[in-house]
Symmetry: C2
């Protein structure tokens, strides 16, 4: 990841650190209370920080003693005075307690941020995979 400290790069760096640490509070601190998320999996949206906190808690506790290493590629960032956005290819790699890479998946990832009293917060996030129009199935890459 770039060392450029735009609000987007900073948020992505903190996102990767919080996921690796499986730290729900650090993860949730990245988001605005009124956050809105279109996530890749299972449901239309998440609205509000409590719904997103539940997702994070379930995700991290489902990992057992494994961890997830998050890598961002093709990062692009646009920052204004108090509104910013960025997008990237995000790879989630499962790492066993012994440090072995178990599996990986890459998603498309967009974050939209607002500058609030306590700094930049993600107020909208959209992650997805493209879908094959013929089969209706997600197109998975890693």
């Amino acid at each position: 990841m770039s060392t450029k400290q735009t609000p987007v790069h900073q948020a992505l760096e903190n996102y990767a650190a919080a996921v690796h640490a499986k730290d729900v509070d650090a993860f949730i601190a990245l988001y605005d209370d009124d956050v809105h998320i279109y996530d890749s999996w299972g449901q239309w949206q998440y609205a509000g920080i409590e719904a997103w906190r539940s997702m994070a808690g379930e995700w991290f506790s489902s990992l057992g003693d494994a961890r997830v290493r998050v890598e961002f590629n093709d990062v692009r960032s646009v920052s204004g005075e108090d509104v910013a956005f960025g997008h990237a290819a995000v790879t989630f790699a499962g790492i066993s307690a012994e440090g072995e890479r178990l599996r990986a998946m890459t998603n498309r990832f967009t974050i939209c941020l607002e500058k609030k009293g306590d700094g930049w917060k993600i107020s909208h996030e959209h992650s997805s995979l493209p879908i094959d129009m013929e089969t209706g199935e997600g197109i998975f890459t890693s």
Copy 2:
């Protein structure tokens, strides 16, 4: 759609009008030359206005004498001085030459805009459907 004329609402209104008119030039005029798109279908991304213009040309000409009515719901918009973003549920409804509603599909839709010399332009767009983690299939709604 709301009558609030934020950059996001204006872009959505112009998007719907250009699609209904099957007007490639009006559609492409909404976007920055350096646009980046994560679209719902078939491929990872579109980079640059020419790739996106080809998509639009193929889409509109595939419709024959049918049209597409685009409706946005749950629109949320955040605007700064020269950066803005918004998201919505977008429904694409096919309308026959006789005015009959043929079929419809709703996608999740995020647009990110920058104020350029000739006004607000969409420089990033992300549309998708959530995917069922068990089956790997897109979750379709209409």
